[in-house]
């Protein structure tokens, strides 16, 4: 019997299978029909989302929590444009996802066909690379290249646009195609020995070294190396928002997160250090608001896999381009143990003098709810967040010890990320506890995925920190704009418990300090399916410490100043 030739879509699905894809998150449509037809006969599980943005965040959450490439599948036109926010989110945070989009048939390209969007043009600046496939025989190569591009070097999102006639036509090419990327070298770089030697020398002379641990440590899986480095140097470690989990935040040398809403002790240490060693962080403006004053008296060391990050913001005294783990492995033998006792003592003093506020008096505070949640689960959870006040409180109070258990939209600050990302993380980690800590604002941007989480009976815990405000914007309007509030009032939020009920999701309500522990304990141990915890918190709490945008860490404030503050000079 003559073997039937695969069409483009079938070849595509076979290639995805051979790359170990377990789940595809997405939403169908006309131009993607051949791909959906091919999925019928595939072991890959298709997860139908309620919106394409949700699908991209699920793929992102899956990728961040497993290290594997997350895959989303959407149709042309609005289906494709709805993925742009998700692509930006993954792009800014270096997350490997692949978005497959259906496209109108090739003869109609550029003719404003029904549901046509020039999605490769639209997404060029929000992806690592993208493709418009014009020949079914290119599909195996494009898929192989996409997986390689997505998850090597600095990872990032790839979009593959697939016209319907291309996925319908026969694919004669071998499924085991050769990659053809003459402009991309995926081979690991051999780190520059001179740069490493210079780093070792500067470290040997540092009296007050501070390690700045970024997302690159997680991506390169340099967890052990970073601990060895910190302990050998006896250097305190502070982490970026995305660096949570790169170095255990319960480690005695950890100062937690630094920056705009970082811990006071991390920011004090930043101002005082005589050497700052960034490993896989990009000196982002949330930690470096005023580069003209940033650590001007400290030596700056930088390890990054992306050459464009070197000298972009900070001019380092020594740098090495490369994978953090590989570079650290070569650096470690050159490190001499140094005497930093006085420095560590000084930093420990800051920790005692400027602890995070944990007072519980008064109404129900968001930070107490989050901290209580942390204590109940003893930190054992994959946590996702949205963006805003609750995100910063979660970063401060929900300490992260293990890699790949903190998923938050850092670079792009995408509201609506947390809940779908938690769904993706739960699919990728069925035996882990996954908690989505979200605000009432962000949650309402992607809450349509309540249907997705309910249908799959995923035991995701949705903790809504509801202050009936877009709290972070309100905080800025209060502090910098004379409390002239505009566009931040969320009074009239739905009854989230009733909403959950409508989807058949178990709801819990927390209204006061007395019930927090009991209710949260019950919710955190509820595993019959998803549950939603509605925490009605004080409306007008502010996140502190705070460094106003555009300022250096020495301008940090620990509470609301009595005098009027100047409008921040930073962008946001």
């Amino acid at each position: 019997m003559k073997k039937e030739m695969l069409n483009g879509a079938e070849a595509l699905v076979k290639c995805l299978e051979s790359h170990g894809v377990e789940y595809i998150f997405g939403h169908p449509g006309g131009a993607a029909l051949p791909i959906f037809d091919a999925l019928v006969d595939s072991p890959i599980k298709f997860i139908l989302t309620r919106h394409e943005q949700g699908a991209t965040h699920m793929a992102d959450g899956y990728a961040r929590s497993t290290g594997k490439v997350g895959v989303a599948l959407v149709t042309s036109g609005p289906g494709a444009t709805n993925t742009v926010t998700g692509l930006l989110t993954s792009h800014m945070d270096s997350v490997p996802i692949i978005v497959l989009s259906g496209q109108v048939i090739s003869p109609m390209l550029g003719k404003n066909a029904f549901q046509e969007a020039d999605i490769t043009g639209i997404t060029m600046s929000t992806v690592k690379h993208n493709y418009l496939v014009k020949d079914p025989n290119d599909i195996p190569r494009v898929i192989k290249e996409s997986f390689l591009l997505a998850n090597t070097k600095r990872p990032g999102p790839i979009l593959i646009d697939l016209p319907k006639d291309v996925t319908s036509a026969p694919c004669e090419a071998s499924l085991d195609a050769e990659v053809d990327l003459p402009g991309y070298n995926a081979e690991p770089l051999r780190p520059d020995k001179a740069g490493i030697a210079k780093m070792a020398e500067l470290l040997a002379h540092a009296e007050r070294p501070l390690i700045l641990a970024g997302h690159g440590i997680l991506i390169s899986r340099a967890g052990e190396e970073i601990i060895s480095l910190a302990e050998k140097l006896q250097a305190p470690v502070t982490n970026t928002l995305l660096g949570k989990g790169s170095f255990p935040e319960t480690h005695p040398l950890s100062l937690g997160m630094l920056g705009m809403h970082g811990t006071a002790y991390a920011n004090k240490a930043l101002v005082r250090c005589d050497l700052i060693f960034s490993i896989g962080s990009r000196w982002d403006d949330r930690i470096n608001g005023d580069n003209s004053r940033f650590c001007i008296n400290a030596k700056k060391l930088h390890i990054d896999i992306d050459p464009s990050e070197i000298n972009k913001i900070v001019k380092p005294d020594a740098y090495v381009i490369g994978d953090a783990r590989t570079v650290l492995k070569e650096l470690l033998p050159l490190i001499k143990s140094s005497d930093t006792k006085a420095w560590v003592k000084e930093v420990q003093g800051y920790k005692k003098k400027y602890p995070l506020d944990s007072k519980k008096k008064g109404g129900l505070k968001a930070r107490n709810v989050i901290h209580q949640c942390y204590e109940i689960v003893k930190g054992q959870a994959i946590v996702t967040t949205d963006v805003g006040q609750h995100q910063m409180w979660a970063a401060q109070y929900f300490l992260t010890d293990k890699p790949h258990t903190w998923l938050s939209s850092g670079g792009s600050g995408t509201m609506g990320y947390g809940f779908p990302a938690a769904i993706g993380a739960q699919f990728g980690n069925p035996h882990e506890r996954v908690i989505a800590i979200v605000g009432d604002g962000g949650f309402q941007m992607t809450l349509a995925e309540l249907a997705t989480v309910a249908i799959h009976k995923l035991p995701v815990k949705i903790l809504i920190i509801d202050n009936k405000y877009l709290g972070m914007v309100r905080q800025w309007q209060e502090l910098f704009f004379d409390d002239r509030l505009m566009g931040v009032d969320l009074e009239g939020n739905p009854d989230f418990i009733q909403l959950a009920k409508a989807y058949g999701i178990k709801g819990f309500r927390v209204r006061n300090n007395a019930s927090v522990k009991k209710v949260l304990t019950e919710a955190m141990n509820y595993n019959e399916g998803p549950c939603l915890i509605h925490a009605e918190v004080m409306k007008e709490a502010n996140v502190f410490p705070m460094i106003p945008a555009g300022q250096y860490a020495d301008k940090m404030i620990l509470k609301k100043p009595l005098t009027k503050m100047e409008k921040p000079t930073g962008s946001t």
């Binding site: 490769t120 043009g121 060029m124 600046s125 690592k128 690379h129 418009l132 591009l149 990327l181 003459p182 402009g183 991309y184 005023d290 003209s292 992306d306 050459p307 464009s308 000298n311 972009k312 555009g550 000079t569 930073g570």
Partner: protein, 174 residues
């Protein structure tokens, strides 16, 4: 943060890229998003048309140049981006000048053409077309000299560059 930005400068950048649709968009996005303005861009296929060589002349702030070059190099389609050193490269541009034909001014015009080693390409009873090639600065000088001669139109190719060094492009074709 009220730093005044240094003056803009003009840079020549040489790019070797795969010859695929959309590459030019990716490249121009890198310039545009860093507020660089492209003055001229010359593209031609090399090596059986699988690759393209581009010579780009662009104006922007010096502080952004390093980022422009690094981000160009980061593009998956780009094989190499660099700023050619003047001493290592040969630079040529070609220009066509259309002028109103004026018998009275013609003798002095011919002198200018001769001085710039230009060619008279076309002559009608009301217009004259001249071709001049050489370094861009030479073309600039020529254009200035031609201004008093009722210059109607100027078309310039933009700068093309070639390195004096021997480059092993054949390695790419394998």
């Amino acid at each position: 943060m009220n730093q005044t930005k240094p003056n803009k400068e003009i840079y020549t950048i040489s790019v070797l890229t795969t010859n695929k649709p959309g590459v030019l968009v990716r490249i121009s996005l890198i310039f545009a998003s860093r507020t660089y303005n492209i003055h001229s861009l010359v593209v031609s296929p090399v090596l059986d048309g699988r690759f393209s060589r581009m010579t780009i002349v662009a104006e922007g702030h010096p502080e952004n140049l390093d980022q422009v070059i690094k981000h160009l190099n980061k593009l998956v389609d780009i094989i190499d981006t660099h700023q050619p050193k003047k001493s290592d490269s040969i630079e040529v541009e070609l220009a066509l000048f259309k002028l109103k034909y004026n018998p009275e001014k013609h003798p002095s015009l011919l002198q200018i053409i001769q001085h710039f080693k230009g060619k008279l390409l076309d002559l009608t009873d009301d217009s004259i077309v001249i071709q001049v090639s050489g370094k861009s600065s030479k073309i600039d000088a020529c254009e200035k000299m031609l201004q008093p001669y009722d210059l109607i139109e100027v078309v310039r190719t933009g700068k093309v560059l070639m390195s004096r060094k021997t480059q092993n492009l054949t390695a790419l074709s394998s």
